[in-house]
Amino acid sequence: MNDIQQIQQTLAQTGLGAANQINKYVTMCVNGELSVAECKSLVLDIQRQLNIDDQLVDQDHLNTINTAINALIDIANAVG
């Protein structure tokens, strides 16, 4: 299992809509439906939406999602 798949698995385990949304964008990126820059932008949108309504998820899940997002952004930046 590669790094991206591990992050997707961690996100899926939260069972949250926001996490599923991130996984959907990452899969679209891996499949070439979105560019890396587009994928990065949409993943960051999830973080922004969670900041707009921070009542949506509990703090533990929020930390998990933010850690996953940061890891994905690092990967995206490394790819270009």
């Binding site: 679209m28 560019s35 587009e38 932008s41 949108d45 939406q49 707009i52 309504d53």
Partner: protein
């Protein structure tokens, strides 16, 4: 009882009832009011985005709408900035503006796929919808 003492008592009650973590939050919960100008700007952003998401095949039109939405979003952020007892919308408008400016920047760079356009406008619409609920739940 003086007016000042009564106000302090009401604030203390609001603090206890609302479960506020700080006295600043209690003051904001007590003083905040619905702002129709703010609500209108948020509604405009939501409406423009909800229409635009279905017209992403027309790049010129989508680009034009992204400019309109970015002006509305920047106006909202500037309007909210010094509006007192308004910290939730102040913070939210900064996040929304990041989403909107990101789309606008990508159009300026000339590289926006129809699928990205659709998802991005959907995300902006959803964020604006959440902000409408926040603004709409304030006392009138």
């Amino acid at each position: 009882m003086t007016t000042n003492k009564m106000k302090k008592l009401v604030l203390l009650s609001a603090f206890l009832l609302a479960g506020c973590a700080t006295i600043d939050q209690a003051i904001e919960a007590y003083e905040m009011k619905f702002d129709s100008n703010q609500y209108q700007l948020i509604t405009d952003i939501r409406t423009l985005s909800s229409i635009a998401k279905n017209n992403c095949g027309d790049i010129a039109q989508s680009k034009a709408v992204s400019v309109d939405v970015s002006i509305k979003s920047l106006t909202l952020m500037n309007y909210a900035e010094h509006n007192p007892h308004n910290s939730t919308i102040q913070k939210s408008s900064i996040e929304l503006n990041s989403m909107v400016q990101d789309l606008s920047d990508k159009y300026k760079a000339g590289a926006v796929s129809p699928i990205f356009c659709k998802i991005k406008f959907q995300n902006i619409e959803q964020a604006a919808n959440t902000m409408q609920q926040i603004e709409g739940s304030k006392p009138k």
